[in-house]
Symmetry: C2
Subunit: 212 residues, 2 copies
Amino acid sequence: MVTAVTNTEPRRRNRRGEGGKLRDEIIAAALALLDEGGDERAVTLRSVARKAGIAAPSIYAHFADQPSIMLAVVQQEMDTLTAALREANDNADPDARTRLFAVGNAYLDFAQVHPQRYRIMFGGLWTPSVDDTSITDADLDSLGVAAFTLLVEVLGACIEEGIAHGSDDLYGDAVALWLGLHGLAHQRAVVRKMPGPADVGDRLIRALAHLK
Amino acid sequence: MVTAVTNTEPRRRNRRGEGGKLRDEIIAAALALLDEGGDERAVTLRSVARKAGIAAPSIYAHFADQPSIMLAVVQQEMDTLTAALREANDNADPDARTRLFAVGNAYLDFAQVHPQRYRIMFGGLWTPSVDDTSITDADLDSLGVAAFTLLVEVLGACIEEGIAHGSDDLYGDAVALWLGLHGLAHQRAVVRKMPGPADVGDRLIRALAHLK
DNA sequence: GACATAAGCTAACGCCCGTAAGTCTAGAAG
DNA sequence: CTTCTAGACTTACGGGCGTTAGCTTATGTC
């Protein structure tokens, strides 16, 4: 993770061959703007440039257009999320039930700690217009695959260990489980205060994983 | 529902005492812009005015600012959604299980048929900034209460009829059920094509209502 | 030390936005 | 027929946006 740039002195130009560093700084600046709590509309090409301490057109050396910046942020944060889920999985007791709750709660925590990030990752707003040529469908389809795969594995382990009675369709079960998690995560990322019981996350996991 | 205005002749001024009609036409124009498929950013004060065939400043006679238009649209569509759920409930066979699936699927259908509307209703994007004085927290809190109440009733009927084993917390169970529905509905409203099995909606309902 | 070039800048264009201030006019009231 | 006013309109300001075109200046190489 690149440390956020907070508009200090005029900014030292990068050395030759290190121009690519600015790319990471631009992403970090966009992320910082997001985390500052305004909504995603505050992340404009110009505001990102200001935050990074560069002139707006300098961005074009690294990104084709404004949606491309958002895509890069989303891709990076998907990796961050995946890493968080993996860490939760690895640090938990090795039994499948514990791992399932650990991964599920890590997912929910991410949305609660970084609501703005979660919204651009899954809220669909920044999605480029259909005639955008700089972002392909493949870019969009590949988002979040790694994180979802981990969920499939853990849910599969629950069924293998006999603590959940799955159907014949593990993938479908995992989709349903993720949708439930997403519903809560998204709501937490959107609403000022989420009503409902505190343990609603665990309830969702129990019900959708069909734990015995 | 007011029929959409498509910028015909210069527009006849409303009669005296009927100035309020324009308010409905403004809401209809905003809804039409939304349904045209662009994202919610396309619904600006000026674009709404163009769509309604009026001058931009004329809106200020009826709405304090741009977020207030969105709030009115959301409030109206929440009523539309509630009506759709009620209709599904009333037209279904009177047994609780059938009604539960009818209401749940009506909810999911709304999101699929009107993805843009669903996104502004639950996507949280249009939410005014904290220092906005024209929209109160009470306005936001009261949104969707009627629709949710119906869900609580139907789920309660399932438990009463003994086809679902609820916990001691009906309200919490209903929240969990709604969150699952919302997860799927939102994803359908956001993504170009939703992966996963076709019956994932029914699976969510079965699992989260704890149907026997 | 000259010079080639990567890295980033300045200036500017055209567009759309929200909103304020003041003006016109059709139709109801007398 | 006049008068009044609700229900609009015109004009304008200031600002932010994405993006293009062309220029500057450090940095590494010879």
